[in-house]
């Protein structure tokens, strides 16, 4: 029972972070039909930028985090303007490949600046443990869950209340109609990339704080995004969050209960991915209008 609670809480913490990353991915896909293979590298950038502002420059940590997140947003907008914009109207394979090339380039830049050896990260989340129902759980995980929930709430408000958010939903719904209503689709794309970069950066910062270190391994979450978004439905924002939570929980249980030498945690999301694609390709909440053969 203790183990179950422990695994559940760490699964939910990881899952909430995964959900943030998947949310950015879905946002880009919904508004511009781009499959972003570089989402994992945004985590890397967020984590390393925070490492730079807090550890290397020595800013007060909330300020450092804010600066890092703003810088990550700028990187997102820059990438959209410079690299994705010229590829509008190109076939899917080109768009996929350009984000793959981008992920390689970003990893190289991060590696050249900060090296490949893992670095001890600034820890701003409290490290002590509390006992919940007899199981001791790290407070940092609870903080991660709370912060992810706050961010989800803020984004929901943004999409429901602000005119920018409503414009984004309009573009996702029908690009032509949005254009004819005077919405700037280009601006919406830029905002989508900025939000995707920000959510991924926050995810990276939270993961860094939980691991207590930062290394290239963080970018591995970028591939895990695919099982999450397919599970939730490629074009559904609640689906992305739920998909992230489910994959996080399943990974945690698989790692905790199955023999560790099997390494089931790594491969299980992809087995689920294949099954879902074969049985219900539009996922839990996706629109059922995906192209069928």
């Amino acid at each position: 029972m203790e183990k179950l609670i422990q695994l559940t809480l760490s699964g939910v913490a990881n899952g909430a972070i995964f959900g943030l990353v998947a949310l950015g991915f879905v946002l880009i896909y919904k508004s511009s039909d781009v499959i972003n293979f570089a989402q994992g590298e945004f985590l890397l950038i967020g984590a390393y930028l925070t490492y730079m502002t807090v550890q290397q420059i020595g800013l007060w940590w909330p300020l450092g985090v804010v600066v890092a997140v703003l810088l990550a947003a700028a990187v997102g907008v820059l990438i959209e303007q410079l690299i994705l914009r010229p590829l509008i109207g190109e076939p899917a394979i080109s768009v996929i490949m350009v984000t793959i090339g981008l992920s390689s380039l970003l990893r190289a830049i991060v590696g050249a600046i900060w090296g490949v050896t893992p670095r001890a990260a600034p820890q701003f989340l409290p490290r002590e443990t509390v006992t919940i129902l007899g199981a001791s759980v790290g407070v940092d995980k609870l903080w991660a869950i709370a912060l992810a929930l706050i961010l989800f709430a803020l984004l929901t408000l943004f999409f429901r209340r602000s005119s920018e958010g409503i414009a984004m939903r309009a573009v996702a719904d029908d690009q032509q109609a949005a254009l004819s209503m005077g919405i700037s689709v280009k601006r919406v794309w830029a905002v989508a990339w900025a939000i995707a970069a920000v959510t991924a950066a926050v995810g990276g910062i939270l993961l860094m704080s939980i691991f207590g270190g930062v290394s290239g391994q963080i970018a591995r979450v970028g591939l895990l995004v695919f099982p999450m978004v397919i599970l939730g439905g490629l074009d559904s924002i609640p689906g992305a969050i739920l998909g992230g939570l489910i994959i996080g929980l399943l990974q945690s249980y698989a790692g905790g209960y199955l023999p560790p030498e099997l390494g089931m945690g790594e491969v299980m999301p992809f087995i689920i991915l294949l099954l879902i694609l074969l049985i219900r390709p539009y996922g839990l909440f996706g629109q059922t209008i995906i192209e069928r053969v």
Partner: protein, 350 residues
């Protein structure tokens, strides 16, 4: 475009290389390939062999992605299947290379067809993501391959590298050069002719418009599976050759980065073109090699350059993909055609 050519019989109309400049060029290439190993040292022979193996796999991938329009991010996994099935046959059953390589290629074709099954229901992005899952699952199986008897890596016995019982002696780079180039030439001839058969034309029809292809009588499912199988056959061939050439294999050689490398080759070379796949293989193999030579040359003046070399190579790889996609999406094939057109129309090109 070449203009002013009038074919008077079917044979010349169907010819793969109808023009004299093309024939002269192909003879030059053949002479170069035949002469190269007599002058090259081991470093260049090794590079040429790497390029040859990469070209075989890239041509195979181009059948699937460039000609049939089915995106696969799982080709690294198929290469691994070829390499490990050849490796296991050689290491456990002591089978010689001339048996293991064809058997491994056929087996990989079968595995490829199985992972092609989702293409019955999925296309485009969804299929690409399904092949990504195939990649991760295959590598996981090999990584946890205690059932198959694979440890961290698999060594192939030296005596299995023989052809019809004749052992390959002396400089293995030199003797493998002929094996690899022979396989590459056979691959090129097979694939060039494939697209003049019913199956090949069906592939192209599926790529261009799948519904129209179905209407004119192409069975989508069969031909998609056939495309996956053919493509994986060449991946298996490349993997099996890698296994015997290197003598030791491990799953780390076939991760998703490998799949991406091969996709990059055909994108940069030119989708839907056999020569494009070869150009891409040459470009993507020479790029890191040239960078490391450059770094060695500069290490005297800039001492810390060697520690940045891996990042330079990775960054150049990503940058090459991005720049090609933005500025020349049709790849090196198109650039080469532009060069030829420039000289053909010179001095009145416009």
């Amino acid at each position: 475009m070449q203009s002013g050519t009038f074919h008077t019989n079917y044979a010349s109309d169907m010819a793969l290389r109808p023009y004299w400049p093309q024939r002269i060029r192909i003879v030059l290439v053949i002479v170069l390939v035949l002469a190269f190993p007599w002058f090259a040292d081991r470093y260049w022979l090794n590079l040429a062999n790497t390029i040859g193996i990469a070209a075989i796999a890239a041509i195979g991938l181009n059948i699937l992605v460039g000609y049939t329009g089915q995106i696969s991010i799982g080709h690294g996994g198929f290469l691994a299947v070829g390499a490990f099935s050849a490796g296991l046959l050689a290491a456990r059953l002591n089978m010689p290379m001339w048996i293991t390589v064809p058997v491994a290629s056929l087996f990989t074709a079968g595995v490829g067809a199985i992972f092609g099954l989702p293409s019955a229901r999925l296309k485009g992005l969804y299929l690409a993501i399904a092949t990504l899952a195939a990649q991760e699952i295959i590598i996981w199986v090999l990584n946890h391959g205690k059932l198959l008897g694979i440890g961290e890596s698999l060594a192939l016995p030296r005596e299995t590298t023989n052809i019809f019982g004749i052992p390959m002696i002396g400089n293995t780079d030199f003797s493998f050069y002929w094996v690899i180039m022979g396989s590459l030439v056979l691959t090129v001839i097979f694939v060039s002719n494939l697209f003049r058969t019913r199956a090949g034309r069906a592939f192209v029809a599926i790529r261009d418009q799948d519904i129209a292809a179905q209407v004119i009588g192409v069975d989508l499912f069969t031909y998609k599976l056939l495309a996956f199988a053919t493509s994986s056959f060449f991946a298996g061939l490349a993997g099996a050759l890698t296994a015997h050439y290197r003598g030791i294999i491990s799953w780390e050689r076939f991760t998703i980065d490998t799949s991406i490398l091969y996709l990059a080759m055909i994108i940069i070379g030119g989708l839907g073109s056999v020569s494009g796949a070869i150009y891409g293989a040459i470009f993507m193999t020479l790029l890191p090699a040239i960078l490391s030579n450059l770094a060695r040359a500069l290490s005297g003046t800039v001492p810390q350059i060697n520690s940045y070399l891996p990042f330079m190579q990775q960054g150049a790889f990503g940058l090459a993909i991005i720049l090609f996609l933005i500025f020349e999406p049709e790849g090196i094939v198109k650039m080469w055609r532009n060069v030829k057109d420039y000289f053909r129309l010179w001095p009145f090109s416009y």
